[in-house]
Each structure stands twice: as structure tokens, then as C-alpha cells.
């Protein structure tokens, strides 16, 4: 991975620009759902406690328990505890699936897509039990690996504490932390791989994460550590800043994953000042966007079908010339001369900044031997040259200076079209093996070393 940490964060901020509303809305919805679940759990818990206390009082005082009048509707303690356990399990599953939805949301944003609040519930429709199973397995693994610590702690507490137990706990915990961090870093991309493609198998995702993180564990660790400063600052706002910080961190980590795969969107690498639709330059690609020319005049963007200048068909001999249309582009050219007319047309000098007008060569009629061109007369049809007639010199007052008309440019606002980025799965091509050609080594007659003659 050759992208710097600061660049990753910059790309994350760019990807979130315009998506803050959606990601913060998703966070608020998640918080609301969590709050509702906590309220429900509290209500059931207190009902169970109240019911249990009443039962105990009833047992010890031998009074009739007023179950019918209780707010729980007469539910027993066991039923309430069962409801509590089921509700807690549902709460954990919903929370887990929403956290997977968060990963998907951040991955979408980091990929340059528009964020949607509904992505929060993406995991409910894409292999939800797979994610639940993975979480249960991870929790079991953590529990098993941490079991010796608990066992040793209990044993040390029961035996009154010993030096051996303390030393064992210390060494085991240090080793545990190191190995745990290593494993966590190695398989850190596991969830993102599965979120990107839920069809992948668990072991396939694990091996891919291991492959991606090879040589990049330390970078990931430092990237995680680099958020400490801003998290510390956010803590001063009493958690208010986490509304912005958690999407920022999530998108940065998603971009780290994309950088490992080498699929960071190109548009994030460009400055928004170049990519944003900015008025009249919207239709230009950011690289070829023209800049203002000296004098404040902007080059006219080429309209469809208007550039290059249309090539006019040369008029047929004897046909009437087509007058130039006002406002047409390219600049109007003088009417082509009539066949046999004199002098040749003089074209207006090109204006600075204007396109080169096509040079039209007037068609020359077939000249008869000995014929001289006849000067054109006003409103007169071209006079066919007569044979044996004397050549008439051109008269100066018959020459009309062609009038150059300034072309009228109609500027049309170009329409900005968002470029579509389509991810294309890279196709792996097996390199062709070419059998090396065997060349018979040329045998050269060894020459006699000098001095042997």
C-alpha cells in the first residue's frame, strides 16, 4: 500500500462531504433503536424484580400475593426472566446487524457512492445468520482464550494469593495481549471482506484478510492510534463530536481496506475544487478544463455538431451563392464569386481567438481557349465567355470590398453530468508460458593463441 495515512484521512473527509446528513441520520436512528431496546429491557427487568420481591414477601409473610393487581398482568417471575433473556438476545442480534450495516454504509461512502440511511439495515437482508454465527464464534474463542486468566484469578483468590499465581497471571496477560493484538490485526479486514461480498466463505475471508494485511499490520495499528488525539478532543464535547468522528473513522478504515485492494476511487484523489460542478465548466473533464483567457473572455465550449466547422460544399458553376446565415458558426465567409468573376475574393483576416475559417476555393468553370474572364455585372447572369473576344481589363471601381460580419456567438450553458464509476472486477490472466527456443550453440573453431606460431 503506497497511500499515506494523512491522504487516507483526506480521502475519507472528501468521501463524506455531501454524505454527512445520511451517516449522522443513520447514527441517530441506531441510537434511537438502542434506546428503545434499553427502555424495554429496563421495564421487563424492573417488573421481574418487583414480581420477585412480591413473591418473596408473600412467601415470608404468608399473605396472598396480589398478582392480578400487579402491573405485569400476573406474569410469573420465570416468565419475565424468559422474556428478558429473549429480549436481550434480540437486542444483541439487532445491534450486531446494525453494526454490520454501518460497515456497509462506510464502505459505500468510501467507494464514492451516495450514502443511504437504509443501508443501516442492509445486513437484515444479506445473510444475517452468517454474521450472527461469526460473532458467536468469535465470542466463544475470546472466552476460551481468556479462561485461564479467570481460573487462575479465582484459584489465587481462594488460596489467599501466591507469588506463582501472580507471576503466571502477569506473564499470561502480557502474552495474551500481544497474541490477541496480532490476531486482531491479521484478521482486521475480515468483516469488511464479508460485508463487501457476503457470499464469500468464512475461511476464504480469513485467508484473504491475512493476505491483505501481510506487511501492513503496523500501518493499520498506527492508523488506529492516530485517532487518539481527535477522540480525546471529542471527549470534551461530552460525546457530541462522536456523531461526526465515528463516520470519519469508519470511512478511513474502509478506505484503508480499499487501499489494500488498490481500489480507492480516483475521484477522491482529486481535489473537490476540480471535481465539483462549477458553473460553466461543469461539462469539462477536470483535467482538460479550460481556464479564463486573458481579457476575461472564455473559450466557447464546443457544441454538439458545431465543431469542427462544417465544410461547405463548393457551389456548382452557375448556381446562386448561398448567403451566410446570421449567427451561424463558423464566421460567415463572403459569398463565393460567380464563375469567371474577377478579382478573386479577399477573405477577411482571422480575428484573434476565432477559429480558422475554412478556405473555400471558388470553382473555376472550364475556360475555353482564348477566352478572358468577364467582369461580373450587377444582377446579371454570368456571361459566357465568347471566343475571339478581346480580354477586358478589370476596372477598379467594379471591385467591391467584401464586408466582414462579426459572427454572433450564442453561448449555451453546458450540463454537468456526474461521471459514472463502475467497478470492474479485475480479470486474472494466466501468463502465457513460452517455451524458450533452443539455439544450437555455434561452434567456432578455436583460433590459435598468439605466440604459438
Amino acid at each position: 500500500m503506497d497511500i499515506k495515512r494523512s491522504d487516507l484521512k483526506l480521502y475519507a473527509r472528501r468521501s463524506l462531504q455531501g454524505n454527512w446528513g445520511s451517516v449522522i441520520g443513520a447514527t441517530l436512528i441506531c441510537m434511537g433503536i438502542t434506546y428503545l431496546f434499553v427502555l424495554a429491557l429496563d421495564a421487563v427487568l424492573f417488573a421481574a424484580l418487583g414480581s420477585g420481591v412480591k413473591t418473596l414477601i408473600g412467601i415470608f409473610s404468608a399473605a396472598q400475593p396480589a398478582a392480578a393487581a400487579s402491573p405485569t398482568g400476573g406474569l410469573s417471575v420465570g416468565t419475565l426472566i424468559l422474556i428478558l433473556v429473549i429480549l436481550y438476545f434480540v437486542y444483541l442480534v439487532v445491534l450486531l446487524l446494525m453494526s454490520v450495516g454501518y460497515q456497509r454504509l462506510y464502505l459505500d461512502v468510501a467507494s464514492g457512492q451516495k450514502a443511504k440511511v437504509t443501508t443501516l439495515f442492509w445486513a437484515f437482508a444479506h445473510k444475517p445468520w452468517k454474521f450472527v454465527l461469526i460473532s458467536v464464534l468469535i465470542a466463544l474463542l475470546e472466552g476460551i482464550t481468556a479462561a485461564p486468566v479467570y481460573i487462575m484469578s479465582v484459584a489465587a483468590a481462594l488460596s489467599g494469593g501466591s507469588g506463582f499465581a501472580a507471576a503466571f497471571l502477569l506473564v499470561y496477560e502480557i502474552l495474551f495481549i500481544i497474541i490477541y493484538a496480532y490476531v486482531l490485526l491479521t484478521f482486521s479486514q475480515f468483516y469488511l471482506i464479508l460485508v463487501e461480498d457476503p457470499e464469500k466463505g468464512i475461511f476464504e475471508a480469513l485467508s484473504e484478510s491475512q493476505r491483505l494485511m501481510k506487511g501492513n499490520r503496523w500501518k493499520y495499528f498506527v492508523l488506529q492510534l492516530s485517532f487518539i488525539g481527535i477522540l480525546f478532543l471529542g471527549a470534551f464535547s461530552f460525546g457530541l463530536a462522536t456523531l461526526w468522528l465515528s463516520p470519519y473513522m469508519g470511512c478511513t478504515l474502509a478506505l484503508f481496506y480499499l487501499a489494500l485492494k488498490g481500489s480507492v476511487p480516483e475521484k477522491l484523489k482529486r481535489s473537490p475544487a476540480q471535481t465539483a460542478p462549477t458553473g460553466s465548466y461543469a461539462s469539462y473533464p477536470y483535467q482538460e478544463r479550460p481556464v479564463a483567457q486573458q481579457g476575461g473572455s472564455y473559450p466557447v465550449p464546443p457544441q454538439a455538431g458545431s465543431y469542427p466547422p462544417p465544410v461547405q460544399a463548393p457551389p456548382q458553376p452557375g448556381s446562386a451563392p448561398v448567403p451566410p446565415q446570421a449567427g451561424s458558426y463558423p464566421p460567415p465567409v463572403q459569398a463565393p464569386p460567380q464563375p469567371g468573376s474577377y478579382p478573386p475574393p479577399v477573405q477577411a483576416p482571422p480575428q484573434p481567438g476565432s477559429y480558422q475559417t475554412p478556405v473555400q476555393t471558388p470553382p473555376q468553370p472550364p475556360m475555353q481557349p482564348g477566352a478572358a474572364p468577364v467582369p461580373p455585372q450587377a444582377d446579371a447572369a454570368p456571361v459566357p465567355p465568347q471566343a475571339d473576344s478581346a480580354p477586358v481589363p478589370p476596372q477598379a471601381d467594379e471591385y467591391q470590398e467584401p464586408v466582414y460580419k462579426e459572427p454572433e456567438y450564442e453561448y449555451q450553458e453546458p450540463v454537468y453530468k456526474e461521471p459514472e464509476y463502475e467497478y470492474q472486477e479485475p480479470v486474472y490472466k494466466e501468463p502465457e508460458y513460452k517455451e524458450p527456443e533452443y539455439r544450437e550453440p555455434e561452434y567456432r573453431e578455436p583460433s590459435d593463441p598468439p605466440g604459438q606460431q
Binding site: 481527535i230 478532543l233 470534551f236 470519519y248 462549477t278 465548466y281
Partner: protein, 98 residues
């Protein structure tokens, strides 16, 4: 050809939010927590609003105002604590009793 830079339409709302929150942090710095909460939020928003290699002008204002608001708020907290301590244990406190 004399080239000029094309500037886009400025739509960095985070920078604007940072500036507003930063100014509010100075205003509320006399309250103990207001300056710290809003000041830190202004600094965070200013940091998150940087989508270029440089800071937006409004983000700079928000950053500065946020830091000033936090410092003023902390100073106000220290002053209040010192005054309370002095009024409880020192001769300043005797002034309350006529």
C-alpha cells in the same frame, strides 16, 4: 496565455458550522461547560471540514474561535474554583458575613 485558477462554488457547510460553533463557544465561555463543549466541537468540525490540502477560511476562524473559547472557559473554571476555595477557607469568605 495568462491562466487563472477556477474556483468552485463554495459548499463546505462543515467549515461554516465550525465557525458558528466556534463563535458560540466564545459567547458561552463564561458558563463553565459551554465554552469547552462548543469549543472542542468547533475544533473537531474544523478538522473534519478540510477537504483540500489547506484549511478553508471559515474553518480557520472556527478553529481559532474554538480554541479561544476553550481556553476562556477553562480560565473561567479555574477562576471560579479559586474564588470558591478562597471564599470557603480564606479571608475572602469572611466578606460574605456582615
Amino acid at each position: 496565455m495568462n491562466e487563472q485558477t477556477v474556483h468552485p462554488k463554495d459548499d463546505n457547510s462543515m467549515a461554516l458550522g465550525s465557525m458558528v460553533v466556534g463563535i458560540l463557544s466564545i459567547v458561552t465561555s463564561c458558563c463553565c461547560c459551554g465554552g469547552v463543549i462548543l469549543g472542542s466541537l468547533a475544533v473537531v468540525l474544523a478538522c473534519l471540514s478540510r477537504v483540500e490540502t489547506y484549511f478553508d477560511k471559515r474553518a480557520k476562524i472556527g478553529l481559532t474561535c474554538g480554541i479561544i473559547g476553550m481556553l476562556l472557559s477553562l480560565a473561567a473554571c479555574v477562576v471560579i474554583l479559586v474564588y470558591l476555595a478562597a471564599s470557603s477557607f480564606g479571608p475572602v469568605g469572611s466578606g460574605f458575613y456582615y
